[in-house]
């Protein structure tokens, strides 16, 4: 497939699977992202507003994580329920174009939630460069969690399992670890475990750019995020089930 056609293909997948559902069902977005915003609200109310920056860092991490993991549930649905992936496999669309198209469609669908959070960041006095840095972190975390979502979707025997597995992973990645709170509050024995998680590193970076100070060396955080995204993408490309065995 020529590059021009590949771009058309990517655009079509993004447009019909991401943009169209967002425009037709805007009220669906708050439902999908209710959990991160609920936690943000609880933290805001319970702390009398003091913990709002932590809530923002947490919500940014959780929304991005969910966006990535939703790619897995979407792919499982398209493959198992709609059989759309069968249509795609027997067409000139490459696996990479398809995966990237579906991932971008999810990012487009979740863009309003991210915009609200960036707006809240700005209202808390975050500079433009801080917001741009946060966007970079969002992209790295999105790549990482998309790869995780894709990996598990490939092995999900049915869509119900895919939803349950991805819900569980979302909790493990973005509720339990220091995402809505500082890593300094964790018992020391749990710190190394938390530091392995890309969401901990992403939230630490968000907390830093929001002005809460870096609880982990930012170079280390970027390094872990970058390494996680590269390793997981490679893993996915090796393990990706395009033509079935």
């Amino acid at each position: 497939m020529a590059t021009r056609n590949r771009l058309r293909s990517l655009w079509a997948i993004m447009y019909y699977l991401g943009f169209t559902p967002m425009v037709r069902n805007p009220l669906f977005i708050p439902f999908v992202f209710s959990q991160p915003f609920t936690l943000l609200f609880i933290l805001f109310v319970a702390s009398g507003g003091v913990a709002l920056p932590y809530g923002l860092a947490g919500a940014l991490t959780m929304v991005t994580t969910e966006l990535g993991l939703f790619v897995g549930t979407d792919l499982a649905s398209y493959k198992i329920q709609n059989k759309f992936q069968d249509v795609v496999v027997a067409s000139p669309v490459s696996p990479l174009t398809y995966m990237f198209g579906v991932a971008l469609s999810e990012l487009i669908f979740g863009a309003p939630a991210l915009l609200v959070l960036f707006g809240l960041m700005a209202s808390q006095g975050a500079t433009l460069s801080a917001i741009i840095t946060a966007m970079g972190v969002v992209i790295l975390l999105w790549i990482t969690t998309t790869a995780i979502g894709f990996f598990f979707s490939a092995y999900a025997p049915n869509t119900q399992n895919a939803f349950i597995i991805n819900g569980f992973i979302a909790t493990i990645l973005s509720v339990l670890p220091p995402v809505y709170y500082s890593i300094k509050l964790l018992p020391p024995i749990l710190v190394p475990l938390a530091e392995i998680l890309p969401t901990t590193q992403a939230s630490a970076l968000f907390q830093g750019v929001i002005g809460l100070g870096y609880s982990i060396n930012p170079d280390l955080s970027f390094g872990v995020l970058l390494a996680a995204s590269v390793i997981l993408l490679l893993l996915v490309s090796f393990k990706m089930r395009w033509r079935e065995n």
Partner: protein, 310 residues
């Protein structure tokens, strides 16, 4: 010109007790409608999925449009399209969105895609519902949307796995018309179906597969003609026990009555016997349905019955 050639094609699924395809050999002429018939689990879908590059064979080979379906899958995918079995539409897309998505993701430019989408929608009489969310459509309309996604493409070979499932007789004929039109354009159509009238009306050639093996092939007429010793069917409504009918031919029980598949003399003799007994019977030529039941029944006689994924 041979458009598809399968040689010793075998597929054994990981957790299966028997091969889904067992050394299948077949050839499909280009520009024809070719139908695969077989019971559930016979291997039809497995064959379609291997030939359309979705599934790896265990052994053997398939060449489609001169390209090896395993080694040259990338090139082949530019030239084929499929309608999967029991596919579902995507929420909240409309019928038009589905067809546009199918064409645009194949790299088609927008004006051509818009034109071809409109043609496919008109051809399958989806005009009134073209811009409605497909979740609101009936099962038959959704199935037509799924078929439209494949027939709107410019693929040289189209694989359709039970394309008319869930369609009423009028809409089935609408799909048949479109498949015939595609054939007239020189494209090759490979389909599976459980409707014998569909196979008979549409197919230039057909094969019957049983337990992953080819048990009959030819044109619908030649497959029926090969059934020379059972060219007639006699439906017996009363006054005969099954044992009394067995000397006349193969007896099949259908919904409380017996159908006897026999030759012309057998039908004549049974007719006379029925008149003597005052029994109600109906005599007619065998249908493809009868041939299918007989051939598959014969092929599977004595074999253990168990389900496996297609």
């Amino acid at each position: 010109m041979i458009a598809l050639k399968a040689t010793d094609l075998t597929k054994v699924y990981k957790h299966s007790r028997r091969p889904a395809l067992d050394g299948l050999n077949l050839e499909i002429e280009g520009g024809q409608i070719f139908t695969l018939l077989g019971r559930n689990g016979a291997g039809k879908t497995t064959f379609l999925r291997i030939a359309s590059t979705q599934l790896m064979p265990t052994s053997g080979s398939v060449t489609v449009l001169g390209l090896d379906a395993v080694k040259q899958a990338k090139e082949l995918r530019e030239r084929i399209a499929i309608t999967p079995q029991e596919a579902e539409t995507i929420y909240p897309l409309t019928a038009r969105d589905h067809v546009m998505l199918s064409l645009r993701m194949r790299g088609m430019d927008k004006p051509t895609a818009v034109k071809r989408t409109a043609q496919a929608i008109e051809a399958l009489e989806l005009g009134e519902v073209a811009d409605m969310n497909t979740d609101w459509l009936s099962g038959g309309l959704k199935q037509r949307v799924i078929v439209a996604m494949a027939i709107a493409t410019d693929a040289e070979m189209i694989f359709l796995d039970e394309p008319s499932i869930g369609l009423d007789p009028l809409n089935r004929r609408r799909v048949w018309e479109q498949l015939t039109r595609l054939k007239q354009e020189g494209r090759t159509i490979v389909l599976t179906t459980h409707y014998m009238d569909e196979a008979e009306a549409l197919s230039d050639r057909l094969v019957i597969i049983s337990r992953g093996k080819l048990v009959a092939q030819g044109t619908p007429q030649s497959v029926k003609a090969s059934f020379t010793n059972r060219s007639a069917r006699v439906d017996v409504y009363s006054r005969f026990a099954e044992k009394e009918l067995e000397p006349y031919g193969r007896v099949v029980e259908i919904a409380g009555r017996f159908r006897v598949l026999t030759d012309a003399d057998g039908a004549k003799n049974l007719g006379e016997d029925a008149v003597a007994r005052g029994a109600s019977i109906a005599i007619g030529p065998v249908s493809l349905d009868d041939v299918f039941v007989d051939i598959v029944g014969e092929a599977e006689k004595g074999e253990e019955e168990y389900g496996d994924p297609e």
